[in-house]
């Protein structure tokens, strides 16, 4: 884990001054993605390796507590790596993003998935999460999923065949998908728009996650890890932006002003996340409405977080972090994200 963390730090440091700022930004973003894809694949392989050897009664969080704890640890590493770069890569690998990071509700809309453990149907990091935390699924999540067509309750593998399918099917598919993303990304030469999507996409991710938290549909819903995902999204956005910062600052007074707005926005959002301990989103207040939240609801921990994220990601407000990032895109002549 320490090695992975230092790799992230290395990859997120802006390239040295020998490269012109635009090329520095694009190549830095590419290296950031590459480092996180390597971390992602390593974590997926470690999770698969930690899955207990198949035996007659499968495995569970009681009789195989150590192995399950180890798998959960690798799952968290995997999430951190993925969420730091998802904003940049999801659009490039939509099919792999769906199979590696798809949600149960999306998967079963296509077809019911009666076999939770194989590498078909509902697959990926959330399919693994649904099994690893199957004994602790929040009530709101169960209530939401029970209404889905072909709902299959989550559980640990109970037989040798199911345990084998988990290790050689579901976990192996996750490894293969992560490896495929890394292999396909490695030779790519990004352009400024694709690189800057790392910043913009990471911000968009946060807004969506919080809204879904109100209905039991949140992304890492079984492990209650969605706030940690959002922190990783923000860390990713900051890391990508760090590569663009020298380019922004090279634009004189306008660049310095835009940079200050962006940094202020990042600080404000980091501060909002720091108010909440743990990995889970705060509890959603009774009667919450995204469209017309009451003052009392907005004063709750969930309401305060919702307000902070909405303010940061509102592209219609020039004073928001998202607005400041679009000013940067305009300044750098990145038309995909210009105002």
């Amino acid at each position: 884990m320490a090695r992975l963390a230092s790799l992230f730090v290395l990859a997120t440091l802006p390239l040295a001054a020998c490269t012109p700022p635009p090329e520095q930004a694009v190549e830095g973003a590419r290296l950031t993605v590459e480092a996180q894809l390597s971390a992602l694949e390593s974590a997926a392989r470690a999770l698969q390796a930690a899955a207990p050897a198949p035996d007659a009664d499968g495995w569970n969080a009681t009789s195989d507590a150590q192995a399950v704890a180890e798998m959960k640890g690798h799952w968290r590493e995997l999430r951190a790596a993925f969420e730091r770069i998802e904003g940049a890569i999801a659009v490039l690998f939509p099919d792999l993003d769906a199979s590696a990071d798809g949600r149960y509700d999306d998967a079963v809309l296509t077809a019911p998935d009666k076999d939770l453990f194989d590498g078909e149907g509902f697959t990926g990091v959330h399919a693994v999460e649904r099994i690893l935390w199957s004994d602790a699924v929040p009530a709101a999540v169960t209530q939401f999923e029970q209404g889905l067509p072909g709902y299959e309750p989550p559980r640990f593998p109970r037989t040798e065949a199911e345990a084998r399918a988990f290790k050689e099917g579901l976990a192996a598919r996750l490894v293969a998908d992560c490896a495929s993303m890394r292999q396909q990304f490695s030779p790519l030469e990004l352009d400024p728009g694709a690189a800057f999507r790392g910043v913009i996409g990471s911000m968009d991710e946060q807004a969506e996650k919080l809204d879904l938290g109100a209905t039991g549909e949140e992304e890492s819903r079984y492990a209650r890890h969605t706030l940690a995902d959002m922190r990783a999204n923000l860390a990713g956005a900051q890391a990508f932006y760090a590569h663009f910062q020298p380019w922004v600052l090279s634009k004189g007074t306008a660049g310095k002003a835009a940079d200050a707005e962006v940094l202020e926005g990042f600080d404000a959002l980091s501060g909002a996340y720091a108010e909440h301990a743990g990995d889970a989103l705060p509890d959603v207040p009774e009667g919450w409405s995204n469209l017309a939240p009451s003052q009392a609801a907005l004063a709750t921990p969930y309401g305060r977080l919702w307000t902070a994220v909405k303010e940061a990601t509102d592209t219609s407000r020039a004073a928001s972090l998202a607005g400041a990032l679009r000013k940067v895109a305009t300044l750098l002549d990145i038309p995909e994200f210009s105002q």
Binding site: L15, A16, C18, T19, E23, Q24, E27, R30, L31, V91, L92, P94, D95, S180, Q183, Q184, P187, L188, E189, L190, D191, G193, A194, P335, E336
Partner: protein, 181 residues
């Protein structure tokens, strides 16, 4: 890290290229052509294939004269379009689409390979383009189809819905058998 080493590393990194189109239409393994904005630049200069008076396809491709621009012809005898092929379909009148008051959409398809779109038009990635103020196309959306909420014709048709079963390696307006000679 010393400056010379830094420069060498950066130069080496910057010299890496995107996956190059390979001949023969191979679509196996992980080889993939992932297109970026630069891959659509100056598409109006590519070889044009004019389609006169084409019918309205459910409001997706508007009725009227249009042109398909192809970045490279397939090698003679090809049975599939090669990896790296890009086709852009644009109405000849790109000012206003009928009944919309807006420019008609510009669509593109790129032969990506690498197992992409395995259950649809195998190997093809779909794109929606818009023209930027500099006259160059920007990628508005990309992937297995348009994103949710994207206006895409009057019906529920999808890119794969029509193209996947069309034969000729999923390209409908330009016949592979005519150009791979």
């Amino acid at each position: 890290m010393r400056r010379t080493a830094c420069c060498a590393l950066a130069a080496a990194a910057l010299s890496a290229c995107g996956a190059q189109p390979s001949p023969g239409g191979e679509d196996a393994g992980t080889a993939a052509f992932i297109a970026f904005k630069r891959d659509f630049a100056d598409f109006l200069q590519w070889e044009p294939f004019h389609v006169e008076g084409a019918a309205d396809h459910g409001g997706v491709h508007f009725a009227g004269a249009r042109t398909v621009y192809v970045n490279q012809r397939p090698p003679a005898g090809s049975t599939e379009w090669p990896l790296g092929t890009v086709l852009v379909k644009a109405m000849d009148d790109r000012t206003v689409a009928p009944g919309t008051g807006e420019p008609p959409p510009i669509f593109a398809m790129a032969k990506r390979g690498g197992g992409f779109n395995a259950s649809g038009a195998r190997g093809w990635e779909w794109f929606g383009l818009v023209m930027g103020t500099d006259g160059q196309p920007l990628i508005e959306w990309r992937g297995l189809g348009p994103p949710a909420g994207e206006t895409y014709g009057a019906t529920q048709q999808t890119c794969n819905g029509c193209h996947a079963g069309a034969g000729e390696d999923a390209v409908m307006s330009v016949k592979l058998s005519d150009v791979a000679r």
